[in-house]
């Protein structure tokens, strides 16, 4: 009797996991945002001690991944190019073919195909900008894994 019950529970958990994974891969999922790089938009209260409680949760929709259609101003979630285990939340500033002024030089850069330029809303004091340089906008010049998933809705 006990083993039967255990088997039933395992089966339910397994199918639930399968369905959950599929939905989160194809349609959308909730993710918690940590850090202040998108400060006025996400995480408006700069309280770092109660981070887990006050963090914003965002709904990440993945329908746009079918055709990779993005627009200027979309907030996107993507894997960090320097560490594949981390995800980052930023806003798209430039799409392929746009010209972008380099932040520290009098130079413009044309964004190549398949890439886009992302910046955090909080260009001064954020953990990201301190690790990547004075302004959040520059990842190693542009972000490659940016076409990962895009948020169209923000739930605070």
């Amino acid at each position: 009797m006990g083993s039967r019950f255990l088997w039933d529970v395992t089966k339910k958990v397994f199918t639930g996991g399968l369905i959950g994974l599929t939905i989160s891969d194809r349609y959308g999922s909730f993710e918690a945002v940590r850090g202040l790089s998108m400060h006025p938009t996400l995480n408006p209260s700069p309280n770092t001690f109660l981070g887990l409680l006050t963090d914003d949760r965002v709904l990440v929709t993945k329908f746009c991944l079918e055709k990779y259609k993005f627009a200027h101003g979309d907030i996107v979630v993507f894997r960090s190019p320097s560490n594949y285990k981390e995800k980052e939340v930023k806003r798209i500033i430039g799409l392929p073919g746009d010209l972008i002024n380099m932040p520290n030089a009098y130079d413009t850069l044309m964004i190549p195909e398949g890439h886009c330029w992302v910046e955090g809303d909080n260009s001064s004091s954020s953990l990201d900008s301190r690790s990547f340089g004075p302004r959040t906008c520059t990842m190693p010049s542009y972000v490659k894994k940016s076409f990962k998933s895009c948020t169209s809705m923000v739930i605070s």
Binding site: T22, D25, R26, Y68, P81, N83, Y84, G114, H115, K144
Partner: protein, 189 residues
């Protein structure tokens, strides 16, 4: 009375339909998860991996677990989402991990000029086996590890998984061969 009996019939029918639909949905979920996280098969095309994989008609089995665990090393054949077009995936061989110094021929068909580069953090250097017809890291630079989708386990040249060629995990000897070839080539030059 007849109405109640009819209703019960309809109810059981609807229940069965829902059950069947759920079964199909579960099957597709299982398919998706297996394809995305465990193993998937891909038909490869193009000349860029020529001696290892043919131009057309090769089916490769790709396992996705070791990329998630970060166990991809030099010599492994991987599939990578193309950095210049996210809708395309390409099959290449990893030649250098982050921090490695990679030297490569810039234009092997026309000149012997080589270039060296240190692969930045979180990136890998991928190159096709057929250096003359391959668009790879020599063209678009090192690729972020997050774009690596899976490691190629084996390939088959005939359809129902016949004529299997296993690509062993320890491809270091192959790298050694390539390296010695490079050095001999350089000696000839």
């Amino acid at each position: 009375m007849v109405l109640v009996r009819n209703l019960q019939q309809w109810k059981s029918l609807a229940k069965e339909a829902v059950d069947q639909t759920m079964l199909v949905a579960k099957f597709f979920c299982l398919l998706h998860v297996t394809d995305k996280y465990v193993i998937s098969s891909i038909l490869v095309q193009g000349p860029s991996m020529y001696p290892t994989l043919n131009h057309t008609g090769d089916v490769i089995l790709v396992e996705k677990i070791s990329t998630k665990l970060g166990k991809v090393g030099p010599g492994d054949i991987v599939i990578v989402r193309a950095p210049d077009n996210p809708r395309k995936t390409i099959t290449k061989r990893v030649l250098g991990m982050e921090g490695d110094c990679v030297s490569f021929l810039v234009d092997p068909a026309h000149s012997e000029c080589t270039k060296s580069i240190v692969v930045p953090k979180g990136h890998v250097w991928v190159q096709g086996d057929n250096v003359y017809a391959s668009v790879d890291s020599r063209y678009f630079g090192p690729v972020p590890y997050a774009l690596v989708q899976g490691k190629v386990m084996c390939r088959s040249t005939r359809f129902p998984l016949l004529d299997l060629t296993l690509f062993s995990a320890g491809c270091a000897d192959l790298i050694l061969v390539v390296a010695t070839e490079c050095t001999t080539a350089r000696i000839f030059i």
